[in-house]
Symmetry: C2
Subunit: 197 residues, 2 copies
């Protein structure tokens, strides 16, 4: 089935995760629009349980990288086999140079006690990923598992980190393939095709 693309669908289709960024600056206004996309997201009880810390200071980026890599090393040691295989296949290791190379990081914090906090903050992040694509920029929804980034950025203890989004220019990365729509969709009952055409 062919789909006529809206600009929204086109941004969704064009989006790619980058792990290798170019050493080229990013406009502050583009960053502002990316955060705007997050700020306007739906949230549980409209609590908007997020705070965005834009990091462009090289020393702070280096520090965040170092904190994340330490946490990654301990996470990898106990990651499920399946995930470690995927990491190996995609040359992903506990080393995260993109946290230092990308000109800007957006650290996305959230209040885990807000209602529906995790869905809310990930809706905001999804919006940000699309707006970055629209700006001709690349990102990656990097989740610093187990890393405590709040203290390094002076963020109140009541917040947790959801993601650290590197933002920058990149050589267009390859898109991972997706399962076709009929395979992931049913009509009224699991296994009944939604689209017969």
């Amino acid at each position: 089935m062919t789909m006529e693309d809206s600009q929204v669908l086109r941004a969704i289709r064009d989006r790619r995760s980058a792990r290798e960024f170019l050493d080229a600056p990013v406009e502050k206004k583009a960053i502002a629009r990316i955060i705007e996309a997050g700020r306007l997201a739906a949230s549980g009880a409209n609590r908007q349980p997020w705070h965005f810390v834009v990091v462009d200071d090289p020393a702070i980026k280096r520090n965040l990288r170092s904190i994340c890599e330490a946490a990654e090393r301990s996470y990898y040691a106990k990651a499920p086999e399946e995930l470690r295989e995927w990491f190996a296949k995609h040359s992903i290791s506990p080393s995260k140079p993109f946290l230092e190379v990308a000109p800007v990081l957006i650290a996305v914090f959230f209040d885990p006690h807000a209602p529906y906090a995790i869905p809310s903050v990930w809706i905001a992040i999804a919006n940000m990923l699309l707006q970055a694509t629209k700006e001709g920029l690349y990102s990656l929804p990097y989740t610093p598992t187990g890393a405590e980034l709040g203290p390094a950025l002076g963020v109140p203890e009541s917040y947790s980190v959801a993601a650290l989004l590197p933002i920058g220019h990149a050589n267009r990365p390859v898109r991972q393939p997706r399962s076709p729509l009929p395979q992931v969709t049913s009509l009224n009952r699991y296994g009944v095709p939604f689209l017969s055409d």
Copy 2:
């Protein structure tokens, strides 16, 4: 600060949650494009841990409504005070007529054992909410807390439900206000303004 809107940012800004739907049909192709927006989302290790069940059968919608309302009544009884106040203020009760009135529901299931399953499925849902807006349709990221919807739709036990998205036409609902950008954004350290202009 004013932002020139891209079509992506405009869809984000235009999106509204609807709880009252009109009795007007929705095109199947629009539903397909909404699911397409979810299918193409980023996911942990590209596992695409989702399955979408489109429900347009009135008897099945009625059954899902009934299951959700039973779960809601038990959830409300133990919800935090703050959330119950917000519900009351917005006339939200355990009664969920939109699950029956909306012409289509998309039940979004996911495999909770996939890596980064919850972030992944909520990125997909965020994309779907935007594409619905782009189609001139309304939705609501309704999370059927505590409700087991899998058995009613024949979905394998390995899946959990993330959201039940009513999709339809609606009288344009009022948008909830958002905190201004400077209030939710810092530069390099919490509390340092990102935008001085």
